[in-house]
Amino acid sequence: MKNFPLIPLTAALCAFSLMAPLSLRADVAPKKINLSEFPAAAVDDVVVPVPSEIFSVLDKLGNPNWKVQLRDGKVRTPETPSRIAFLLGNVIAEGFVAVEAEDSERVKDIGRQVLKLSEGINVKKSVITRCKSITDKADQRDWKGVRSEFDGALQDVRAAMDELNDHDLSQLVSLGGWLRGTEVLTAIVQNGFSKDGAELLHQPELVNYFDRCIGSMSPRLRKDPLVAHVRDLLRKIGPIVSESGDSITAENVKTIHDLTKEVDGQIVTGGN
């Protein structure tokens, strides 16, 4: 923004009136606001970051070995819708890892898994086109395009679930993605601990948001053992990620990694 106090007022006004129609104008924003005035005027919905938002920072901090983070094997479609929803988000997050690893075969395999899991909760139609695009773009090694398609697949699946009034399951898809993304983030940060890397875990509002989401789910879903287990995990992680970013220690990172890895294992295998 222009520093108007340094310019004589009349000259500034003349210049502005001449330039205004031709240029992009910035309105004057207050330098400081009182956020407590906003709770009643806040938008409740939280846009959950996709893993690649965090992975892109990790790439700038170092040269992570993404290939070793890839999970082995194929997943089976679980029987319970809650686990399918968690797993679907988890697998889409795995897709972002595969993109970072630039592993086109793995990306295509994950695209197929997304399609299969979507079928398990009746939203296959909504992602058929996306999954085809994932395959095509992986063949072309268009990684930015594949990232965009995974993001789109996440939105399409959630949109279709909301359409079916499965809002709770839709939230579990996001949560499943966040859990896998956090597991990978903590694995990489552990391997070469740095304050900047650990700071990426400072996500207090997001963890609170997920906790609130589970709290507002139907009693039946809240009692689902896996959902209850994830809520327990969120409550353990909450105090750690609420600390200021530079206070998150290597031990904290390990704790979060162990917790997310264990729950992701349950999502994939059902505890078997």
């Binding site: 606001i33 965090i54 993001d151 900047d196 700071e199």
Partner: protein
């Protein structure tokens, strides 16, 4: 660009959840009032399309534009706060738009202590944008506002990109 403009009759299938929820409540209100629901449907969708239009130059600069978005409607000078998790190390552009011709709006970014953190911002008619390079990872707030409009309530949409 991967952002598809969906045929009107399919919009409800692809609209991001916050917008879909807004649309859902708006449609209920419209039905109760006997208003034309399809018109409202188009309005929300158009604001999203305009927001993606504003994001296009940034996509070309290498920003990944998220498919998720926020939206709603506001009276003139009414403000809303949208909370966002941002990560230090990324650069973000927030792009806001409305479908209401002649309306002007603004978006600015604040940290969790209420300090303005815009690295740059612009406003041009129905579009506005703000860039932020977060100095710390954490929760930030996009304050959105309608500055001028001929409508009582002006629909808006906000999208963001990062790199």
């Amino acid at each position: 660009m991967q952002i598809s403009i969906t045929p009107l009759f399919m919009c409800h299938l692809t609209m991001p959840y916050p917008l879909r929820r807004f649309l859902g409540s708006s449609l209920c209100a419209a039905l109760l009032l006997g208003a034309a629901a399809p018109l409202l449907h188009a309005t929300v969708d158009d604001s999203v399309s305009f927001a993606y239009e504003a994001a296009l130059p940034y996509y070309k600069q290498g920003y990944s534009i998220r498919k998720d978005a926020w939206g709603g409607d506001l009276a003139v000078h009414e403000k809303k706060a949208v909370s966002i998790q941002l990560f230090k190390g990324n650069t973000y552009w927030f792009l806001m738009a409305t479908e209401v011709k002649g309306a002007t709006l603004s978006v600015h970014l604040y940290d969790d202590k209420g300090n303005l953190v815009d690295g740059e911002s612009w406003q041009k008619g129905r579009f506005a944008g703000a860039r932020v390079n977060p100095r710390a990872t954490g929760t930030y707030f996009a304050i959105v506002q309608i500055l001028k409009s001929s409508e009582d309530r002006t629909t808006w949409a906000l999208v963001y990109g990062y790199k």
